[in-house]
């Protein structure tokens, strides 16, 4: 462990910007592109990931010393799948309408590489406290990015944000924004903007 210990605050904020899972590391793009046709969908997906990632990181980091490294990946996947199923079932029971609109993407959180990536890169090497902070930072970064992406697409594609009418009645919705190409275009512009800001900061 030659790596210098960084402060807990830094551990949290790195997920928001410097190592933002979507905009910088480009992880978990499949659900990002697929579910963000509206702000509420992006937020719900983000919260589902927040719960799964934080819970998985807590468990993995607390048992990290007894998991043999040969079976670490299957163990991670079982733990993650358990929490995803908990999320999926609870959502179906208590938020059926939201669950219907997120459809197949909740079960697919199991294979979201943000989550597996954090277990492999962080939780399996750090103590519980640090892992929780790291997981929270990453998932909050993920949630904010998805919500913003969803909000932009919803605003241009339907004239609303969180179903609130924001555009004047004369506004003609850009259909393309809520279709898959709109996801690619918006995400591309957001990644571009992130890189541009980072490049300017370095100078």
């Amino acid at each position: 462990m030659a790596k210098k210990k960084i402060s807990l605050l830094k551990e949290f904020t790195k997920g928001l910007w410097d190592e933002n899972p979507v905009l910088v590391m480009l992880l978990g793009l499949c659900p990002t592109l697929a579910v963000t046709s509206s702000a509420i969908n992006g937020l719900a997906m983000g919260l589902a990931v927040l719960f799964t990632l934080t819970a998985s990181s807590t468990i993995i980091s607390s048992v990290r010393k007894i998991i043999p490294k040969e079976v670490r990946i299957p163990t991670f996947i079982i733990v993650i799948a358990t929490f995803v199923t908990i999320t999926d079932k609870s959502m179906a029971a208590f938020q059926p309408i939201l669950h219907k609109s997120l459809g197949a993407f909740i079960p697919l959180i199991v294979v979201n590489c943000v989550i597996l990536g954090r277990q492999e890169a962080f939780a399996s090497k750090n103590n519980v406290g640090r892992s929780i902070v790291d997981a929270l930072g990453m998932s909050v970064g993920f949630t904010i990015t998805l919500t913003v992406l969803g909000a932009i697409r919803e605003l241009l594609g339907a004239g609303t944000i969180f179903s609130l009418q924001l555009m004047p009645d004369s506004f003609v919705p850009w259909m393309v924004m809520i279709l898959p190409p709109g996801a690619f275009i918006t995400l591309g512009l957001m990644i571009g903007a992130t890189n541009w800001i980072n490049a300017r900061r370095e100078r």
């Binding site: 163990t75 199923t85 079932k89 029971a93 919705p173 259909m175 809520i178 279709l179």
Partner: protein, 195 residues
């Protein structure tokens, strides 16, 4: 000895996970089932006008919801029609009169069509007057001949015609095809049983 440890760790993880999930399923499954029954109940009420209650009748593995009036006399019938849409499975509840010559109303129970285009079969937020206009076209639609769709022409209900959605002809056609196909199977099944 090394491999024994691998087996033990993985087995234990799976057992704990299974135990947690079975407890969870025990808690949530009844709520999910209840919600789905509720949804179906509301939907049957939506597609069968003027009913007081309904019976579920199963004829050769096909479920029919027979609507009854206050005197427990059957007055109409509903069934589920399932088939492929443009990119997803469509599940439609169809309410009809007893001899199945007229659709009373339909309701899309589930669909995952193209957002903003195919989803208009269920709701069309772009249409400010009536966002459910597509489904409402089926109210009192004559089905003595197969249903057909038109574009840019005024449809005639007595001929079983409806207007397709601009930009979502395949989804519109899928709804009609699914209803036509299911009707063709269910009509002889149900009318034979009732008469």
């Amino acid at each position: 000895m090394k491999s024994a440890k691998l087996i033990i760790v993985l087995t234990l993880t799976a057992i704990i996970s299974g135990a947690i999930l079975s407890v969870l399923a025990g808690i949530t499954q009844p709520i999910i089932d209840e919600y789905q029954t509720d949804v179906l109940k509301t939907a049957v009420g939506d597609v069968l006008p003027n009913i007081n209650s309904y019976d579920i009748k199963i004829i050769e593995n096909t479920k029919f919801f027979v609507g009854k009036d206050r005197n427990n006399k059957p007055i109409n019938v509903a069934f589920e029609a399932v088939g492929d849409g443009f990119q997803s499975k469509l599940k439609i509840l169809v309410g009809m009169n007893l001899d199945m010559t007229k659709i009373l109303s339909i309701k899309i129970l589930s669909q995952l069509e193209t957002p903003g285009l195919g989803t208009k079969i269920e709701t069309d937020p772009g249409n400010k007057e009536d966002d459910a206009w597509f489904g409402k076209q089926f109210i009192n639609l004559n089905t003595s001949s197969s249903l057909t769709y038109l574009k840019n022409e005024k449809p005639d209900k007595s001929k079983g015609q409806i207007m397709a959605i601009t930009g979502a002809t395949i989804s519109s056609k899928a709804v009609i095809d699914i209803i036509n196909a299911t009707m063709a199977i269910n009509r002889p099944l149900f009318t034979k049983e009732v008469n």
